[in-house]
């Protein structure tokens, strides 16, 4: 029998079953399986008459409470950033002191161009990125703990009801949460979403999450412009990312890929005390990517920036792009160059400022150099941070989006909408903020 006839037989059978039972054969088959299993359980499994309330049940009564759930989630998230910044502060200072020492050692070497390449380019650029290693690793420790204890699944469960209202469900939120680490594995994790439309929309909005590589940029600017409120300002970036991701998911689900969304049970694995080894292993897995990128991609980008700058090419490129961003307050050519290189990897923004601004290398002085040489106010810094949060995903993320959606169309769509969104939000913040400050 040929393919067409086989499928013909299938359609006749399905039609017949639907008529007789009023249900899809798929449902009938699943029911038969459940029936078999429930019979099997009666034979082989004895449960106590009254199930003991486990520790997991007790904790879940509070964490999953319909009123407390979301506030607890926000509190935990806020705690994560406070922890990350308080603990990493002194570590970053030590690294910066080490870099200053290193810069002093090479300042005398000749020829002058080599000294400039090493101190402005490599130490100022790559070193600046590396000085944020403690922030990144601490964030990854915190994320690993949240994931390994089973809290991340709870967060998704708590958000499930809200997500249903926008036409998605909690599992999409797990993907978004993983986006706090890195967009690449987060986009890959969307495979667990069965409905293809839900999956596509989730992939499209995942780049709006604050990934680990955006954190150095926030940390740099928050320290320089918002000394007393660093944790709060950085937390607000994460919150803006989540809120915009949810809003846009709702919009895309309505306008771009409408249709029914999938239903399934949200998994709630029991709470487990993560072992130190697992948490450190997860931290290392994620952190290593950051370290090795600093040594390869960022190093390459920084050397390229230094060279283009040395031969006065960069300023022309920067000046050509910069006017677009003047509505948002960061229309200087240096900022434009940083944004262009940020598409390679978001940390490169820090590296670019470190290389381009004179004297930035000293004592982690990039932030001060930005204020002094580019004339930024805290408002501009905040607008720039939202731009970094929202605009074009890095090339690695774009590659993954292309692979997972299998479509250039959606990849190009992601590039375009994130760029427009970043520009609009940064401009709005700057323009409206200028009325008050």
């Amino acid at each position: 029998m040929g393919s067409a006839e086989i499928l013909q037989v299938k359609d006749t059978s399905l039609e017949h079953l639907r008529k007789v039972h009023g249900d899809d054969a798929e449902t009938l088959i699943a029911d038969a399986r459940y029936g078999f299993i429930s019979g099997l359980m009666r034979d082989v499994l004895r449960k106590p008459a009254v199930e003991k309330e486990t520790a997991t049940d007790k904790i879940d009564r509070i964490i999953l409470n319909r009123w407390l759930g979301i506030p607890i989630f926000l509190l935990i998230l806020y705690g994560v950033f406070q922890f990350t910044f308080v603990v990493s502060g002194p570590l970053i200072n030590w690294i910066n002191q080490g870099l200053d020492w290193l810069a002093a050692q090479v300042s005398g070497i000749s020829p002058a161009w080599l000294s400039s390449l090493v101190s402005d380019g490599i130490i100022g650029g790559v070193g600046a990125v590396l000085s944020f290693v403690p922030v990144i690793f601490l964030l990854y420790i915190a994320l690993s703990i949240l994931e390994d204890t089973g809290y991340l699944s709870r967060a998704a469960f708590v958000m499930d009801r809200l997500m249903h209202r926008i036409g998605l469900h909690g599992r999409s939120f797990v993907t978004l949460m993983l986006g706090f680490g890195c967009t690449v594995p987060a986009v890959m994790s969307s495979r667990t979403i069965e409905n293809p439309r839900d999956r596509l929309v989730t992939i499209l909005v995942t780049p709006l999450m604050s990934c680990g590589a955006k954190l150095p940029v926030y940390a740099l600017l928050a320290a320089a412009f918002f000394t007393a409120y660093q944790g709060l300002v950085v937390f607000s970036m994460y919150a803006i990312g989540v809120i915009l991701a949810i809003l846009l998911a709702w919009l895309f689900r309505k306008k771009l890929v409408s249709g029914e969304s999938g239903h399934f049970v949200m998994e709630l694995p029991p709470y487990r005390l993560p072992t130190v080894v697992t948490v450190l292993a997860h931290m290392w897995e994620r952190g290593w990517a950051f370290l090795s990128r600093a040594g390869t991609l960022i190093f390459g980008a920084v050397v390229l920036i230094w060279m283009l700058n040395y031969f006065d090419v960069l300023e022309h490129i920067g000046r050509a792009v910069a006017p677009i961003f003047s509505t948002a307050g960061f229309g200087q050519w240096e900022s434009a160059v940083a944004l262009v290189f940020g598409v390679l990897a978001k940390e490169a923004v820090v590296g670019a400022f470190g290389t381009l601004l004179a004297g930035a290398g000293a004592s982690g002085g990039i932030g001060n150099a930005i204020a002094a040489q580019l004339g930024w106010t805290p408002l501009v810094a905040f607008a720039f941070m939202t731009m970094i949060l929202l605009y074009i995903p890095c090339v690695a993320a774009l590659g993954t989006i292309k692979k997972e959606t299998g479509s250039w169309k959606w990849t190009i769509f992601t590039i375009s909408y994130t760029l427009v969104l970043g520009w609009v939000v940064a401009t709005l913040i700057y323009q409206i903020g200028s009325l008050f400050f």
Partner: protein
């Protein structure tokens, strides 16, 4: 008969302790690659036991074997296409009923199944009593009780894997009955696919079930055959 290398596929629900079982079996002898054509991580490891070399392929953790998610398609394609000597299904004993949904679908595929009944300690602490021998009889497949977190039961699992791979334990499997009406249509489907080239690699009954489930992957394969 004695084969020098045995290939096993490690399957199970997420959170069933599958990764711990994988680590217990392979130790440091692991490497990570990608499943062909997709960016899903594929972990493999080896284990030497009683003169045999056992290759362990870690399948993605899944709840079911439909065509709805990439992970599920990868897991079932591996079992169908690569025909591992043994499929080890790691089952969370404290969540037996839900975990069995996957087990049943491996049985439908006529996979040479060994059930690793993991987290026995958690099940016991909740006061569950599981008749493992009865479970084994009713599913027609060997059942090995384990506590992977404490590395208990690994040797017994390896012994069982070798016995199944070398034919010393027969895995009889079971056939689920889907009710009179579905069975009648299933019989028609089985006959329809029996002549298709696909029937060489897949059991006709399984193909029939998948077609009745309107499984888009299998429909594509039928079209291409």
């Amino acid at each position: 008969m004695s084969k020098k290398e045995i290939t096993i596929a490690l399957a199970g629900n997420p959170n069933s302790g599958k990764t711990t079982v994988f680590n217990n079996l392979t130790g440091a002898r692991q490497h990570v690659g990608n499943w062909p054509g997709v960016t899903v991580e594929k972990k493999e490891g080896t284990c030497n036991y009683k003169g045999r070399r056992i290759r362990v392929v870690d399948l993605p953790g899944v709840y079911s074997l439909t065509a709805y998610s990439l992970d599920e398609v990868i897991a079932r394609d591996y079992v169908v296409d690569e025909k591992p000597d043994v499929v080890v299904d790691v089952v969370d004993a404290s969540n037996l009923e839900r975990n069995c949904y996957l087990t049943v679908q491996f049985l439908e595929m006529k996979a040479p199944l060994v059930i690793a009944l993991n987290m026995m300690d958690v099940a016991e602490s909740r006061g569950y009593q599981i008749d493992t021998e009865g479970l084994s009889n009713l599913l027609g497949s060997p059942v090995v009780p384990m506590i992977a977190a404490k590395n208990q039961g690994t040797d017994k699992l390896l012994e069982t894997i070798i016995s199944v791979a070398e034919g010393d334990i027969a895995v009889s499997g079971i056939s689920i009955q889907y009710g009179h009406d579905v069975e009648a249509e299933l019989a028609k489907m089985e006959e329809a696919v029996s002549g298709s080239p696909l029937a060489k690699g897949y059991s006709p009954r399984w193909l029939g079930i998948k077609l009745l489930e309107d499984d888009r992957e299998i429909i594509e394969k039928i079209k291409k055959a």
